[in-house]
């Protein structure tokens, strides 16, 4: 094998310029492949992150809805099969039952979830509808009472604060972080106080400690955040009053099954992130498919380049093939020589292509990209996942192997007698 490699390398050196052209073809396609996939997946992660970073994998809540079993249904069931058979009845305009939107038994659920090995983080929320009183105008708003420390750790809360320190929200009482749109409408700045009125009519003054920008403008016009204790006080509810429990799981894909399980177990409503945001996966998949397709096409083109150059080389080297066979090299030895030649081109092109791809990714990663929608993004996103490098190199080797195989097979079949007698 070492001998065959030496012969392959010598032939390669004799046709250095053509070999370099072939290798550059591979290099170029690998560079583009790696850069494209890194960039596309960087964008995918960024866009998915817009929602997924802040979306719990499973959200437990209590939806106020009409009781599925109205009292009269109970009456119906009780009379089936008795001496007084039930009669038909119609009830129109069924209303939701009179209930608080809180999660019953929230503390017990939280304790159970904290013990569950599948769960990474448990954080409660208390959502309150309020009005912000600005002069004579009342602005609609939604205050999310959060466990600030948990939200910073697991939902990147701090990333979306464009001004202020999130820890002020954790420590201070009667503090609030306003959405950017809402703050602009109220012309409220950090340190100022805003007046809120709850649905029950209670009023409170809250101090602004930060401005929040999610990247979704409509969201930022309504949402604001406060410490969960502050919201409980605002609503005059006890310390165990929560409307939501958010779960972050170790394995995102387990969310749908777990949501169903928890809904049945705790008799609450549960929604998983896949159901809530089905459109994101679709977009990501389509972008991935496009970038793979472009990369593979580039590689196939490079493969044709190698095929051509090898074919030409074999045609020029018929004499050499004939004498190698005459002096004891078998057909498969000759095939291996030309396959090796092709693989060397592929390997050199592939490895330099990886370096090129990494360089290009680094360049893209440093191109400024600032947009109001993405407050934490300063440059184009890149996913440096080594997976793409491995895929690229495997593709390069596979393509060059296939491109080399056909000419190599032809070389193996060369009849030395025909060549030698033809002289």
């Amino acid at each position: 094998m070492k001998l065959l490699l030496t012969i392959a390398l010598t032939l390669l050196r004799a046709k250095l310029r053509q070999s370099i052209v072939a290798a550059v073809g591979v290099m170029f396609s690998i560079t583009m492949f790696v850069a494209l996939l890194g960039f596309m997946n960087g964008l995918n992660d960024l866009l998915d992150g817009l929602i997924l970073n802040r979306t719990p994998h499973v959200r437990l809540y209590n939806e106020l809805q009409a009781s599925p079993k109205q009292p009269i249904d109970v009456d119906y069931e009780e009379h089936v099969g008795t001496d007084f058979p039930p009669t038909h009845h119609f009830v129109r305009s069924v209303k939701p039952k009179d209930d608080l939107p809180r999660l019953r038994n929230a503390e017990a659920i939280m304790q159970a979830m904290e013990r569950d090995p599948r769960v990474m983080a448990v954080s409660p929320r208390l959502v309150a509808q309020v009005f912000f009183n600005v002069g004579t105008v009342d602005l609609n708003g939604q205050v999310n009472g959060i466990d600030v420390v948990q939200e910073i750790r697991h939902y990147r809360f701090a990333d979306y604060l464009t001004q202020g320190d999130p820890h002020d929200l954790a420590t201070g009482n009667n503090t609030i972080v306003l959405g950017k749109g809402l703050a602009d409408m109220m012309a409220a700045d950090i340190g100022e106080t805003v007046q809120v009125t709850t649905a029950a009519g209670d009023r409170a003054l809250l101090r602004v400690v930060g401005i929040f920008q999610s990247g979704i403008a409509d969201y930022d016009k309504v949402q604001c955040y406060a410490n969960i204790k502050t919201v409980q006080k605002l609503l005059a509810r006890p310390g165990s009053y929560y409307t939501d429990i958010n779960l972050k799981l170790h394995d995102l894909t387990a969310a749908p099954a777990m949501a169903r399980e928890l809904a049945a177990r705790f008799k609450v409503d549960a929604v998983d992130v896949q159901t809530a945001n089905a459109q994101f996966e679709t977009g990501s998949d389509v972008r991935s498919i496009i970038s793979y397709a472009v990369g593979v096409v580039l590689l196939i083109v490079a493969g044709f380049g190698i095929y051509n150059i090898l074919n030409m080389m074999i045609y020029e080297k018929l004499d050499a093939i004939a004498i190698l066979k005459a002096t004891g090299f078998s057909g498969s030895d000759v095939r291996r020589i030309f396959l090796l030649l092709s693989m060397i081109i592929g390997l050199v092109g592939g490895v330099t292509g990886l370096l090129g791809g990494f360089t290009m990714q680094t360049v893209i990663d440093n191109v400024p990209f600032e947009t109001a929608a993405l407050p934490t993004t300063k440059t184009f996103p890149i996913d440096y996942d080594p997976k793409y490098y491995i895929i690229a190199v495997s593709f390069a080797l596979l393509t060059t192997w296939i491109a080399g195989w056909f000419p190599a097979r032809k070389a193996a079949q060369v009849d030395p007698v025909e060549i030698i007698r033809g002289k």
Binding site: L3, T10, A322, K325, A326, S332, V417, K423
Partner: protein
């Protein structure tokens, strides 16, 4: 080594070309070559002498009859085994030198030895140098093959044929492309190989002087051995 004194036995070899019509080129050819024998094959152009040589060389496998090289029947053997026989037991010298221009003279001579793999690269190199020295080509060992003259190239090709100590050297008009002086040198080398190294030689030639000076001359005509 086999017990038979014959290096090469040819028995009733027949061959026809089928394109475009079937034309028999070899008809019941039978002969033997003993160890150390210097045999030439002569005949008119188209009498089948080169065709016969390529059948004996194992490169042409489409024929009927038997070719036995060193006791091993070659008919029906696979490509790998035939390549191994060529590598180990047969040395070739063609009319054209067929040196690889990308390799140095020394490396050209070494290639079949490296393929055989029986000796280390250093030993093969020493052998190759010894062969080149014998042919007075050791001064050119590190030149590239295409820097030599025609006669020098043919001598290198002979050195290459000798590198694995083959049992038989086959030549297809090895002096055909050379001038009188170089042809004389090559003939001298062949004689030396037969006499000193006890190798068999089977040389196809159309040069009657060359043929007359070999141990035995096989004359062919129209696909048959006539004498």
């Amino acid at each position: 080594m086999s017990g038979s004194p014959n290096i090469l036995d040819v028995e009733k070899v027949n061959k026809s070309f089928h394109d475009p019509v079937t034309v028999p080129v070899l008809k019941d050819v039978s002969f033997s070559v003993r160890s150390g024998e210097f045999v030439s094959i002569t005949g008119k152009s188209g009498c089948g002498k080169s065709t016969l040589l390529y059948i004996l060389s194992t490169m042409d496998t489409e024929y009927e009859g038997d070719v036995v090289i060193d006791g091993e029947r070659t008919q029906g053997l696979g490509g790998e085994r035939l390549a191994a026989i060529r590598n180990e037991k047969i040395g070739f010298v063609f009319q054209f030198h067929y040196l690889l221009p990308e390799f140095s003279v020394l490396h050209n001579v070494m290639l079949p030895g490296l393929k055989l793999g029986r000796k280390s690269a250093a030993e093969v190199e020493a052998d190759a140098m010894a062969r080149l020295k014998e042919l007075e080509m050791d001064g050119q060992a590190l030149k590239m093959a295409n820097q030599l003259s025609g006669g020098q190239k043919q001598r290198v090709a002979i050195a290459r044929a000798l590198i694995n100590d083959p049992l038989i050297i086959m030549g297809d008009e090895p002096t055909g492309n050379l001038d009188k002086r170089n042809a004389e040198i090559v003939f001298g080398i062949f004689q030396h190989i037969a006499a000193e190294h006890r190798r068999s030689l089977l040389i196809v030639t159309h040069d009657p002087d060359f043929a007359a000076r070999t141990d035995r001359n096989i004359v062919m005509d129209d696909g048959r051995i006539v004498s």
